[in-house]
């Protein structure tokens, strides 16, 4: 599924309960992250829950990301973030309009700094990887 399909699917969901059940499902379907990455090295700081993000570079120059969290909703949000950013070139990563996408999904509340759920920290980390890798 890509992010446009996700936005379409979201339009059929009524109320926050269905939406968040769906998000949690997305998290559960995320390919498991090898526990050897559950270390400080791969931790995204600034999150209330533990969040790990592991980048790797593909031969074609695109970046692949894997992620995990010990909190269910955050894990679902990671799945959405990876849908937006994983397997893209650095130029494509820079062009992702995360605010717009989250607004379309009706999830803007997660981008408020006080929530500190790490979404911002995560997208910043992804952008940094795209710039430095």
């Amino acid at each position: 599924m890509n992010i446009e399909e996700l936005i379409e699917n979201f339009e059929f969901l009524d109320g926050w309960e269905d939406k968040y059940r769906y998000i949690i499902d997305l998290g559960e379907k995320l390919p498991p992250l090898d526990v050897k990455f559950h270390t400080d090295e791969w931790k995204v700081r600034g999150c209330q829950s533990q969040v790990w993000l592991v980048p790797s570079k593909r031969p074609d120059g695109s970046l692949h990301f894997e992620g995990d969290s010990d909190a269910m909703i955050v894990k679902g949000l990671i799945a959405i973030v990876l849908m937006m950013y994983s397997d893209k070139s650095p130029a494509e990563i820079k062009a992702v309009a995360v605010d717009d996408i989250f607004a379309k999904l009706g999830l803007s509340e997660h981008l408020s700094p006080s929530r500190r759920n790490g979404l911002i920290a995560m997208t910043e980390k992804i952008r940094a990887y795209a710039g430095i890798l």
């Binding site: 926050w16 059940r21 209330q48 829950s49 533990q50 010990d70 269910m72 909703i73 955050v74």
Partner: protein, 407 residues
């Protein structure tokens, strides 16, 4: 009879709806809501009475200065201090504790001394002592509490000794709700010649505080937790001790005679209130303390104790919910963990249900870790908390359990 519904009507924010649900505010331990009386007083000052204090030769300044000093008197009465000169206004409890560390600590502590704190301290009563230790080289000792969060006399006595110069302890834990036996602890500390600072942030909100009876040397609290404004805190210090302390910030309002080359300093409390103070906030705090005392501190305590019992019994109905900190006689602070649900996920559902709680380490990360967790969900009571709040909290917990169990 304590009429909690009448009390609630004094707090306009409680009638606001949150995410379409009634406002179930269970985060008073972090900061309390303000009664209309305090809000009105603040409005009045800015509307009719405002000017700077301690300097004007005109009516407004005379009036506001006497209001500001009357607020100090109210704090004195609230704490039963001997004199209002023992009441220093600060920004918050954190600043009060830092003031003691920077002035009394730097002057009187040496590398051969010991400072004793408990395992249950807020970062505000831990980090300043760590920093000062790194500077001076004294030993920072930490006495253990029991696994249920209760005070342990053996541990306390074991750590207390001839080298102890200062005991800095919380009166009531903001994570566990434990209320320490301050009076006896202070007596034991004085017996070995130590001074005692009480972090009374949570303590003063929930019961009558009498600094003369406790015989503490310093006591710190924040106005925003006692239903007053933000930006105002209190440091109580015994007159003789404050008098021996040097100032730590310099400028206007705290000086005696100033020449281009030298300056002498004012007496306490002015010595520690450099610059224009939080005038409106101090007066607002005075009003908030009036408000609590009009209700009666004993009545507030009785009301909250009854709620603590009710919360205990309701929580025991929720399978998989663990209360962290079950010391007998604890106050209205409930830190909980629910099996299989991350606190952040839990808080998300609670928020959707209009229930405000705090999640995380509650500025006491070493304590939360010592209790075996990284993060906890905390519900804390205020004088306006009622049974319905607790029922809504429990319902929201059950809803979260169902929500996450489906996965």
């Amino acid at each position: 009879m304590y009429d909690v519904e009448a009390v609630r009507r004094d707090f306009p924010v409680l009638s606001r709806s949150i995410n379409g649900k009634p406002n179930t505010f269970l985060d008073s331990g972090a900061s309390a809501q303000k009664p209309q009386q305090v809000i009105d007083r603040i409005m009045e000052i800015y509307t009719r009475e405002y000017s700077n204090v301690h300097r004007g030769s005109y009516l407004l300044s005379e009036e506001i200065t006497s209001e500001y000093e009357a607020a100090r008197k109210k704090v004195q009465k609230f704490l039963n201090a001997e004199s209002e000169r023992e009441v220093v206004f600060t920004r918050n409890a954190t600043e009060s504790i830092n003031l003691v560390a920077s002035t009394w600590g730097r002057k009187f502590l040496t590398r051969i001394d010991e400072v004793l704190i408990s395992e249950a301290e807020h970062h505000a009563n831990l980090v300043p002592w760590q920093m000062l230790r790194d500077e001076i080289g004294f030993e920072l000792k930490i006495f253990k509490i029991n696994d249920d969060g209760s005070f342990n006399w053996d541990e306390y006595r074991r750590c207390l000794g001839g080298k102890t110069k200062l005991v800095a302890v919380t009166g009531m834990s903001n994570v566990l709700g434990t209320i320490f036996p301050l009076k006896e602890m202070i007596r034991a500390a004085h017996d070995v010649g130590a001074k005692v600072l009480v972090d009374a942030c949570q303590y003063v909100v929930h019961q009558k505080t009498d600094v003369q009876d406790l015989d503490c040397d310093f006591l710190a609290f924040s106005g925003h937790k006692t239903y007053g404004p933000t930006g105002i805190g209190v440091l109580y210090g015994k007159a003789g001790i404050l008098a021996a302390m040097p100032p730590y910030q310099f400028g206007g309002d705290m000086v005696d005679v100033v020449t281009y080359q030298t300056t002498t300093f004012d007496e306490p409390p002015a010595r520690f209130e450099a610059g224009t103070p939080a005038i409106v906030q101090a007066i607002g705090l005075g009003k908030a303390l009036d408000y609590m005392q009009n209700l009666g501190m004993e009545n507030i305590t009785a009301h909250e104790n009854e709620l603590v019992d009710y919360m205990h019994s309701r929580l025991s109905e929720v399978k998989g919910a663990h209360e962290v900190g079950t010391a007998p006689g604890k106050g209205g602070v409930f830190s909980i963990a629910v099996d299989g649900i991350h606190p952040q996920d839990l808080a998300f559902i609670l928020d959707k249900e209009g229930v405000a709680v705090r999640v995380g380490h509650h500025c006491a990360a070493p304590l939360v870790r010592r209790m075996g967790y990284e993060s906890l969900t905390r519900a804390s009571f205020g004088l306006y908390t009622n049974h319905v709040d607790i029922d809504r909290f429990i319902e929201a917990l059950l809803k979260a359990k169902t929500f996450f169990a489906a996965h």
